[in-house]
Symmetry: D2
Subunit: 187 residues, 4 copies
Amino acid sequence: MIPDKDFIKNPEVPGPTKEEIRCVVMCKSKVSSDDVVVEIGCGTGGLTLEFAKRAKMVYAIDKDVEAVKITRENLKKFGREEKVQVIQGDALDVLENITSFDILMIGGSSGDLPSIMEKGYEKLKINGRILVTSILLETRVEAVKTMQAMGMVPDVVDISISKGKIIERGTMMLGNNPVTIVSAEKL
Amino acid sequence: MIPDKDFIKNPEVPGPTKEEIRCVVMCKSKVSSDDVVVEIGCGTGGLTLEFAKRAKMVYAIDKDVEAVKITRENLKKFGREEKVQVIQGDALDVLENITSFDILMIGGSSGDLPSIMEKGYEKLKINGRILVTSILLETRVEAVKTMQAMGMVPDVVDISISKGKIIERGTMMLGNNPVTIVSAEKL
Amino acid sequence: MIPDKDFIKNPEVPGPTKEEIRCVVMCKSKVSSDDVVVEIGCGTGGLTLEFAKRAKMVYAIDKDVEAVKITRENLKKFGREEKVQVIQGDALDVLENITSFDILMIGGSSGDLPSIMEKGYEKLKINGRILVTSILLETRVEAVKTMQAMGMVPDVVDISISKGKIIERGTMMLGNNPVTIVSAEKL
Amino acid sequence: MIPDKDFIKNPEVPGPTKEEIRCVVMCKSKVSSDDVVVEIGCGTGGLTLEFAKRAKMVYAIDKDVEAVKITRENLKKFGREEKVQVIQGDALDVLENITSFDILMIGGSSGDLPSIMEKGYEKLKINGRILVTSILLETRVEAVKTMQAMGMVPDVVDISISKGKIIERGTMMLGNNPVTIVSAEKL
């Protein structure tokens, strides 16, 4: 995993997703070098980069111009531009124009989560995976409900991480914000 | 509990201990209106104030002049000066001059934790309680070991709290730093 | 707080709410000796007992006959029957027959959460508090939404506790299930 | 990651390390197909299997005959026996007979942690990694101190995971025991 501190950041853009969360997302996604990934809400590009290292092709989408810009800068910094198409635009519009894919990763949805999941599900290959990372209480419930309505069996993991900061007197534990990962496979 | 945001703060002084942690500390201390409390490392005075509302008498000690000042200001703000003696000085020296007490609360120890616990244990009444709040990995282990060496049975609780921040799109969960409370009764 | 292990238990009945969670619920409820408390879903009676120690009067309601029975047994064991009326029945029906109260504590709602909250809100005194403890992702979102719809400002706290078990080799940390407490005051 | 439930288990043997923790351990280990891994305290073989999928060679050591047996059974079940040498014996003795390696993973140490880390450090290649997973408060502190004494810079991550269990009324969150991963690189 790329250390959190190595990413180029923009205070206006959320992310990067913290190292350990990126790690669990990669595991849950079961990404392999055959996979096409569509990522909605790429933010700073933290997950984009990890998928780019592992997948065949990544479509990274964000409606925010600044997010698209910083994702591109981070891809360039780590030499991973080749396999990634970064697209500024509306998730539903972009999904319309992608034929099919193996992984739908939703890190941000601007309130359109069920529609994005439904549209994505249509184009998701059999055995493909949908993943939603959630920092809002509402998003995780919406993800679970939408997956269930589409006949998927959601796996729900809430991860609270605290990291040790070595100071003179010892190891101070600093809490991160918890993240819930909701994921499921298309059967 | 006094809301966290209502305390007067000084960026140089740690605290106040977060509301929910203060709450659990009060429960674990079993403080009643008959109790004399000695608090080492009062910082901003968060726990001092809660003890002042419930105990007969509180000695709040900090070696830091600024901590002593801000604790006094907070006691004044909430009208709880009467039952509290705030003392700037070394914990071991001050403990030397207090006859006996029911609760020893250690929120900070400047590396002297075992000595403070041992000196405090001597003066602690039978059925009195020692509590240590720890944000360092090392402190909680030291507290457990010292209690065991003195024949106490430590209760260890690690508390990770995240709080909801209501934003337009929903309820965002923000993680606090975890705190471990180690407590035991003198048998 | 009454230690978890001291409660009479029935494997068919949920609870008691863990000691530290009971502690934070008591703090958030701001319960005082003037308060009338209505508790929906009393289960084993863990919170019932803590409210009984602090409030003027408690109505503890559960639709499950076994829960009502075990709550009564626990109240008897700890000598707190006097101030508590334990009622077997439907929450909405019972709420209909209570005039007014200061605290509405909802630990279980059998899927009727918004209706119970709305009915309770009507009868809640000004400055009264509604509290919902949630172990389901869905419940906490429903509680937040219903409070907001009624003009309340929800306080959301998710509490993850792990407790130390002293074994020969050291202090093993055992995780409890996280609980979210959603609470708000009637303005 | 192999799902937790797919491992053959023996109630006398700890593990397998939970899926998400295995995932973060793999990330922190930076394991690649060139790496030789030494694992002390393989237990049920959860981490052994994940290393076997990714490394060149794995030595899995446990002093417990039953652990060695169950690790072998799990390797066989998942067809990963080829690259793993499972050894029943004392960690220090076995380390004596291994020339050099890239990753030292310590999941259990029977109280010998500093000695094992020191002996392992000697044989660890430059840029090699030591990882300690800890469920005891004492182990994580010992790991941090020993790494620091050897001139390593420890990375400390405490991971609390709760998993959603889908029941009729919603998604119930069940807490796992927290695990702390302490890791560092030999410079």
